[in-house]
Symmetry: none
Amino acid sequence: MEKFKTILNIAHKQTNLGCGLVALLTAGGEQIFSTVVFRCPCSELSFLYGLVSMLVPALALLLLGYILNKRTWKLLTGVCHREAKLSCWKMLATTWVIFFQISTMALVAPSSWIAVALLNGNYFECMMTGINASAIKEHLCEKVTSPAKCTDHLHGLPCATDIIPTADRDEVLLSLRAMSQIAGWLLIASIMLCNLMLTCLGRCMSPISYLQLKFWKVYAQEENNLIDSYTSKHAKELAERNLKSFFDRKFPEPIHIPSNRDWENIS
Amino acid sequence: MEKFKTILNIAHKQTNLGCGLVALLTAGGEQIFSTVVFRCPCSELSFLYGLVSMLVPALALLLLGYILNKRTWKLLTGVCHREAKLSCWKMLATTWVIFFQISTMALVAPSSWIAVALLNGNYFECMMTGINASAIKEHLCEKVTSPAKCTDHLHGLPCATDIIPTADRDEVLLSLRAMSQIAGWLLIASIMLCNLMLTCLGRCMSPISYLQLKFWKVYAQEENNLIDSYTSKHAKELAERNLKSFFDRKFPEPIHIPSNRDWENIS
Amino acid sequence: MEKFKTILNIAHKQTNLGCGLVALLTAGGEQIFSTVVFRCPCSELSFLYGLVSMLVPALALLLLGYILNKRTWKLLTGVCHREAKLSCWKMLATTWVIFFQISTMALVAPSSWIAVALLNGNYFECMMTGINASAIKEHLCEKVTSPAKCTDHLHGLPCATDIIPTADRDEVLLSLRAMSQIAGWLLIASIMLCNLMLTCLGRCMSPISYLQLKFWKVYAQEENNLIDSYTSKHAKELAERNLKSFFDRKFPEPIHIPSNRDWENIS
């Protein structure tokens, strides 16, 4: 139990390590899923099936990323009542920056799902062979020995039917798999490039130096930990006082409870 | 024993972790159930059987979720006698909010049951091959080599009979499984989207900030724990006094017992 | 030993956990029983055998539930002499409520026995193939290749005889098993729905709030524990005094023994 907690804690502190862990877990899950559950229907349904199998789990992971992130809730809680106070522009800017940071974290899992799915190739195969446009069909089948047969029975290719000769089948499938992997690598590279650029830009615009930034990060974390312990101590005292006064019929001693205003200011 | 308690306690505190655990256990149970108990009858009964096997366990899990949640009973106990006190509208609103929160928790297990059943696909296969509408039958069989045979013996498909050629059988079953998985993924995505939207709305409307909300959550939990210990202490004292007075024929010393009114106020 | 006691104690306190444990044990017992002991006779006796194997153990479990519940005996002991005291209507109402509560607990094991037996399906198979009405026989056999043979030798089906072709046999048995499972699931769902409705109604009508109810439950349990220890202490003293006075020929010192009236009042 303790060990598990320590690992969680480290992953929480070192954002990079945490992201890596999430990406790794997603990749493993995708591999298991694609071997156990994924079966291409080899019919007109193929395109829809491949698309849904690739994108909807990624969407679910994205939503999960938002739901599990504490900062989403910290940002949202009571936002409807707070809006009037600060100057509108500054408020909006801060909100967007925080939203962008949360999104970056939430996008790790879905993008690694899609990347692994593309590198794996069978989703893309299924999707492309099920597509209905004759132009694409002809393009895929233009090099094989019997193009007409290939175009007609293209959606049956991933299921190893005997109608199309194996050599032709392999040629089309290998091409598709190659395209899929190229797309996967380009996706990975572009995501990382994008990420690097934006972080660079953000850091470059920052008014404080590296060491100072590090200091404030550590400070924020320490504050968080202390808030947790103080909160629980305070809540315990309050609960004990109230219950004692209830059972023993004494008047409760006054305890200082921070007002709504105070809470908002430290948030 | 202690370890088990610790895990239960953590799962109880961290709602997300608890939900994940419940969903995982349900998914595992569904897998075991579908391999051990589920046998498609391959007759006109198939549709009813598939439907019942998919929906009734989910209903049972939903009811179990309501029964095992303490808050259901906290909400219901004595509600018939209490109604007249508070203003009607406020009362109704609070009740609905709490009921909604309980429902959210209770829906985790059934929705994960249905989602896993759809991703698994054999319930849906059994249901659709047992359906009696000729339009659906013809639609499913329109691409195979012998459509008439397929339409007549459609309900026998999941049982590997020799009447229909294997290639045709596979084609129909793969299409059905693909539809089932598409439905499953869309269900998962829509549930998560719905959940995120509603929680966002709820948090956004909250009059207090994130840290304050956290404080009150911790307070409520501490109070709950303390109430348990105070209750048992108080009950022990009262029982001891009453029994002593019974066996020794002394008059019982007066002990303060909170009145019905007091109990209602702190509830 | 200590651990076992702790587990028993927890199961006793947490009614839900206790019920779950009983249901689980019953389900496991049913599985063992149906694989080890149950052998369908495949003759005219089948119907009776299946019916007895399914219902009589359930009846035995129901009676066992009544016998093992302390509250049954608390309710029954001396009820013939007490009847005249309280007002008749109130007395009857209380008795019925307590009887209903005991029945709820006692019904857990038999209903889970019947539910698991139906989900398992082999009791139902044996019962239905042994039934003597020709209408049912014809209905079961109407889809197979040789209906006349099937109708004549229906009761031999579960025993894998060579008279009826395997395909026909499988078809009939699968249908029967599907019916059995549908019945099982509907039974489980209806029991849970019924349970939830009745508990809701009972809780809703309760004049006291949730926390107060919890307090009185803890009180009743503490009182029970203390009564045990006080009773044994008191009985020891009394026995020692009486024996001492017998051996030493002294007059016994007077000890206060509560009268019959007192005992009745605290019951």
